[in-house]
Amino acid sequence: MTVPTTPPPRPTAPLSDAGLEVRGLTVRTAGRTLLDDVSLTVPPGRRVGVIGASGSGKSVTALALMGLAPAGAEVRGSVRLDGTELVGLPERERARHRGAGIGMVFQEPGTALDPLRRVGAQIVEPLRLHRGLDRAAARAAARDLADAVGLPDPASLLRQYPHQLSGGQRQRICIAMAMAGEPRYLVADEPTTALDVTTEARILELFERLSDERGTGMLFVTHDLAVLARIADTAVVLDGGRVVESGAVRQLLDAPRHPATAALVDAARATARRTP
């Protein structure tokens, strides 16, 4: 693993195929346009933020990238994974890229794990699927993975059911599950929103560490500007299903050009003032 801790800044190079490239992504359901012509790029190993108010299309973007848009939704545009077009692939082939090409972490660790299965089994499942490990090897790999995501005493913890773990531990399990296929990109949909502040900080550290160590590119969806400023260098701002502004996070936060961005920044400042 000779992945540099901080990959060199790579502008969205049109010459290279590498990267998660979204172009003109449009999602419609029965008469409603959920996403309208969304374009963004996650260069390999970089962390890109997606911000926006509730209902701006952040989660739809994340799900559409995974090919998991709501049933009956019409998806147009292009999602290229290191040069491979994903939109329009038959479900069977698309599923092969999930977990291996792009992994995803969800907002609610409480509901993203099957309540009836031991958490270990839920990590073992993608491990066997993507790495072709036998049961014993997959169990060992699951313990390593649990260790890597900072879970204490993996051997006994993996035998627990989701309801027996704390929110932060569940989210670590979800992250382990998403990383099991060693994806090149990780989509994180507000992964710390449901957690308390201390746990949030630790989970953010974990994301940074994983992405730095493994060179995993990340698309980090959030509505929290503090989280965004910490985790991502560049970001796109969504409003009403459209990208209204994009660029370096610093610049977006210091000098927002679009009213939607400005509103987010103002709201964050107001909150910060209320809680000194």
Binding site: L68, R92, E108, P115, R117, E125, G150, Q164, A180, R202
Partner: protein
């Protein structure tokens, strides 16, 4: 084995297990032995009160109520198990067709189920009787069909709910395909509802057999049945109240035991109810601190790049 132990860990589970175990044992015993011939009429011993010779007394024809009740256990077992099996098969097939096929088939099935649910069990039984003649088979098939439809209708909603759940989306996002989602997530999570519905179906089958036999659509006079018995005895309830109490109580006991069994099985198989939170919370709380300091103090993240560099 674990599940059995957990079932009898609750009073309701013990009750269900004892009543149903007894029912099966008595049904088996009745195959080889009853105190008297359950069908032998004895005009000289009508309406006898309970006695050592006739434990539960005799009825209007002088038949031994205890023997007849015992012989009726077979019918009850056959009806409960037979209806249960048919209801499961019909329910599983209809649920599969209604959830896993092409969209137009699914929607067609949903409409069909809504129509079939409105079709009374009694009417099915009457139609089948008109075709095949009255028998226990008619009862089993008509009740099995009705409940199969009910199960499929309830299960369909449950399957849809589970298919849209976060954990199924998360499993799919990690690369799990259709078969994996079906057998590892959909089926196990829909199973509890299925169990409860099935036990309800079996309980209702016992009741329905009593009702249908009472109306003359069920077991013939050559088959001992609690329903037929109740129909015979209730005519005299004003004069000989205890006699109708026996089949009535037997039906009530079995029906209650069957419905409680479903709940007991569901509870015994749900890890949220069977694993204690506390034991883990106690162990989990202290490690939450150290676990925080592991990434926070980050010996792991710093050593790894250190090694590579």
């Amino acid at each position: 084995m674990h599940v059995l132990r957990r079932i009898v860990a609750r009073p309701t589970g013990v009750f269900a297990a004892v009543v149903l175990g007894l029912l099966v044992v008595l049904a088996a015993v009745s195959l080889v032995w009853t105190p008297q011939d359950p069908f032998r009429a004895d005009p000289f011993h009508q309406w006898e009160p309970p006695s050592p010779a006739h434990w539960f007394g005799t009825d209007a024809s002088g038949r031994d109520i205890a023997s007849y009740l015992l012989a009726g256990t077979r019918t009850t077992v056959v009806v409960a198990v037979g209806s249960g099996v048919i209801a499961s098969l019909v329910g599983i097939v209809l649920t599969a067709v209604g959830s896993l096929t092409a969209r137009w088939v699914r929607e067609g099935t949903a409409v069909l189920l809504d129509i079939l649910v409105a079709f009374p069990t009694l009417l099915t039984a009457m139609l089948l009787t008109a075709v095949a003649g009255g028998s226990l088979g008619v009862v089993v098939v008509s009740v099995g069909l009705s409940f199969g439809v009910t199960i499929a209708r309830v299960a369909r909603g449950e399957i849809r709910r589970i298919a849209r759940s976060d954990y199924v989306t998360a499993a799919r996002a990690s690369g799990v395909g259709g078969a994996g989602v079906l057998f590892r997530h959909l089926v196990p999570n829909a199973a509890p509802l299925f169990t409860v519905q099935l036990s309800l179906a079996m309980a209702t089958a016992v009741l329905a057999e009593a009702g249908l036999s009472y109306l003359g659509y069920g077991a013939g006079s050559d088959t001992a049945s609690w329903g037929t018995m109740l129909a015979d005895l209730q005519k005299y309830i004003g004069v000989h109240p205890w006699s109708a109490t026996w089949p009535g109580a037997a039906i009530a006991l079995v029906v209650a035991a069957l419905s409680l069994l479903g709940d007991a099985v569901r509870d015994a198989t749900d890890p949220r109810l069977t694993t204690s939170d506390r034991a883990v919370a106690d162990r989990g709380a202290p490690p939450a601190g150290p676990s925080a300091t592991v990434p926070g103090g980050s010996p792991a993240p710093e050593t790894t790049p250190g090694v590579t560099a």
